[in-house]
């Protein structure tokens, strides 16, 4: 039940960020030729996710050791903030990478959109906070490791956007092609013209 609600929320978010994914576009020729791909997984995004998954444990261990080293030099507020940020980032990163792998490799838009939302709304602000907020006594080693993690997150934001857009366009085109394939055996193909009037699943037919 909760999974269905989450899926619905993610799908409506996808429609807001990538408008037109639930509209009828017409059979544009460029989209037709692009839909001849055998796959729509995005390679740069997959590479970024793969290397990020390997880099994450080292980032985590380094961040924890650096926090232990500088803990006594932080103010009370920032001690609590740094600990909670590390815990939250660990949990979110694990979920985010798993969902990103799933969405990109199995070509499922809701998972990929969930991954993109987690990256843009949660990981990006948190890692930028860790990298740029001087009140957390940033050590040089921390600058280096957080800088690399920031590069990963920003690259995933940009390539994730294009991955989702491509995947959504591909699935829209495939859906509309499938509609016409379903109707062919019923009506034959000789003197018939299809006039799709509304974006409903059953286009109205007119015999000439």
């Amino acid at each position: 039940m909760a999974a269905a609600t989450v899926r619905k929320a993610v799908t409506s978010f996808t429609d807001v960020v990538f408008p037109g994914s639930s509209n009828y576009h017409g059979l544009n020729t460029p989209q037709l030729s692009r839909s001849g791909n055998e796959y729509v997984s995005n390679l740069p995004l997959q590479m970024a996710l793969y290397f990020n998954a390997f880099y994450f444990p080292f980032w985590l261990v380094t961040a924890i050791i650096m926090l232990a080293a500088k803990y006594h030099a932080l103010s009370n507020v920032y001690q609590i903030i740094c600990i909670s940020i590390l815990i939250v980032m660990t949990l979110i990163e694990a979920i985010r990478l798993y969902v990103g792998f799933l969405g990109n490799l199995k070509e499922q838009v809701p998972e990929l959109a969930g991954f993109w939302m987690l990256t843009v709304l949660l990981q990006a602000p948190l890692i930028l906070f860790l990298l740029f907020n001087e009140a957390t006594v940033i050590l040089p080693l921390e600058r280096a490791v957080h800088g690399i993690q920031t590069a990963f997150v920003l690259f995933e934001v940009f390539s994730g956007y294009f991955a989702i857009r491509h995947m959504v366009n591909y699935q829209v085109t495939k859906f509309h092609l499938k509609q016409f394939q379903q109707l062919e055996p019923l009506y034959g193909q000789d003197d018939l013209q299809f006039y799709p009037v509304s974006p409903s699943p059953e286009p109205h037919l007119k015999r000439i």
Binding site: M47, Y55, L141, R143, A144, V145, G147, I148
Partner: protein
């Protein structure tokens, strides 16, 4: 090639070498001060600073070249280049950690640079030229 664990190993050692180089670069003056005797002259200090800075910038440039060649896929799936790169950069990470902690002299940086930065980039360029010229 079976399960290719060389690719993430190469990536991680490249990243660790990059991180250590950035760490040395950010504390340049402290490192130079640490490796000079207490009664050093200002000319000594400037000379050693320039020495170390040139070495570090060259290392960063060579690391950039290797990252580009690796991530673009030219040498990502060549086992020999991956092995050379992994061993060289792992050795560099360990040697540069000793450089910081044991306070080596600044000219010793160039030994590390020659074996662990210049050599993999040289083999990388050989690979790239081979891929472009002999297979295009």
């Amino acid at each position: 090639m079976g399960v290719n664990g060389l690719v993430p190993a190469r990536f991680l050692t490249l990243v660790s070498h990059l991180i250590i180089t950035i760490v040395i670069f950010m504390n340049l003056d402290e490192n130079v001060t640490a490796c000079l005797p207490l009664d050093h002259t200002s000319a000594d200090y400037d000379f050693n600073t320039n020495l170390l800075m040139v070495g570090l910038i060259l290392t960063l440039v060579f690391l950039g070249i290797e990252f580009v060649c690796f991530l673009s896929g030219i040498s990502m799936f060549m086992p020999i280049q991956c092995l050379i790169s992994t061993f060289a950069h792992a050795g560099a990470s360990i040697a540069l950690s000793y450089f910081i902690v044991d306070v080596w002299k600044c000219y010793n940086y160039y030994y590390v640079f020659a074996i662990c930065s210049a050599f993999p980039v040289f083999t990388e360029l050989v690979v790239v030229v081979g891929a472009m010229v002999f297979r295009v």
